[in-house]
């Protein structure tokens, strides 16, 4: 039993708002790669932080033993909302970035790629969340600098190390997962975002207000 429960209508509304926000992020990604970004329905749930690593493993686009790169970015909005976004991508996807930077396989170790990934992830996380959070809060959301938190481990290791420890303090967490897939260039990434327990009641009140106004 979670400490806070969202009703079916509240989940439905939040999923729709995330859907609209991810559409805007996908359009930015499409411009960058000059290819169509395939969108799927975002996943959304409130879960105990203890089960979060397994949820990440099950819902990621990547296999649990696949080596992945993780970029994480914290955000807050006037202390009424606090959370974190995370981009997970694999090495195949990392290679798709090379032509964009006019690099070749010989430059695979280049720091330039990491810088680009940080920039790209920061853009995806902040554009998606800024759009979403503008629906809820009048004040702008503050984003900390994104950081590559893992690049040598597989998804299972990452899910337990990078996420479990970071969220032990939170209890229940609202998590959402979005996939961005560009088939033509083999680009795939997961965008997860997590919102802490304390922020959930603020979010719920706003969702209830929107639902009331729409009836």
């Amino acid at each position: 039993m979670n400490s806070i429960e969202f009703s079916h209508e509240e989940y439905d509304l939040l999923t729709e708002l995330i859907n609209v926000s991810m559409g805007k992020s996908a359009a930015e990604l499409a411009k960058l790669f000059n290819h169509f970004v395939k969108l799927k329905v975002p996943a959304l749930n409130i879960e105990s932080s203890e089960v979060l690593p397994e949820t990440i493993i099950k819902s990621s686009l990547f296999g649990e033993l696949e080596k992945v790169i993780v970029i994480q970015q914290k955000f807050h909005n006037d202390y009424s909302l606090k959370g974190e976004g995370a981009i997970i991508l694999n090495y195949k996807t990392r290679q798709t970035i090379l032509p964009l930077l006019e690099l070749t396989e010989d430059d695979i170790g280049s720091e330039e790629i990491n810088d680009f990934l940080l920039e790209l992830s920061g853009q995806l996380i902040s554009s998606c969340l800024s759009n979403l959070l503008m629906e809820f809060f009048k004040s702008p959301t503050t984003f900390e600098s994104p950081a590559i938190t893992s690049k040598e481990e597989n998804l299972r290791q990452v899910a337990y190390k990078s996420f479990e420890f970071g969220y032990q303090q939170y209890g229940d967490i609202l998590y959402s997962k979005i996939d961005f897939i560009i088939d033509v260039v083999n680009f795939q990434c997961d965008l997860f975002f997590f919102i802490d327990t304390e922020s959930l009641s603020h979010l719920q009140k706003i969702l209830q207000k929107i639902l009331e106004e729409s009836s």
Binding site: E16, N19, V20, G23, K24, F36, V41
Partner: protein, 124 residues
């Protein structure tokens, strides 16, 4: 005979907002609304009774909007359709227009834009 409209969207909230708008446009007119939460459910309803008009979301579970449009094309069913989607990529609009849709509206829904588009396609 009622003018029948099918709304296909996985979001109940989006369907509710759209129904509210349609109700205001069609007040006093003989019309009937039906709903489906994904392409597969919509296909079942269409096979029972082909609607006069359809609002269609693109990103849905089970069967998405593109798949439904492809399936309708295979079945040679030509239902006047307006797509309402959060996908603002130009390619998305191009793809569905190639599949024969009349119009494309971006979410979030706005009553004035729905009205303008319905006038444009001679529905109201």
């Amino acid at each position: 005979m009622s003018f029948t409209i099918l709304i296909v969207d996985d979001s109940e909230f989006a369907r509710k907002v759209l129904k509210k708008s349609l109700h205001s446009f069609f007040t006093g007119k003989d019309y009937a609304l039906s709903e489906a939460g994904n392409g597969e459910e919509a296909l079942g309803k269409i096979k029972e009774s082909v609607p006069h008009f359809m609002f269609l979301d693109l990103t849905m579970p089970v069967m998405d909007g593109y798949e439904l449009l492809e399936e309708l094309k295979t079945l040679d069913l030509n239902i006047p359709t307006v797509v309402i989607s959060a996908d603002i990529q130009e390619e998305a609009e191009k793809k569905v227009k190639e599949l024969g849709v009349l119009g494309f509206l971006n979410k979030p829904l706005n009553q004035d834009r729905i009205a303008d588009l319905l006038k444009e396609v001679n529905i109201i």
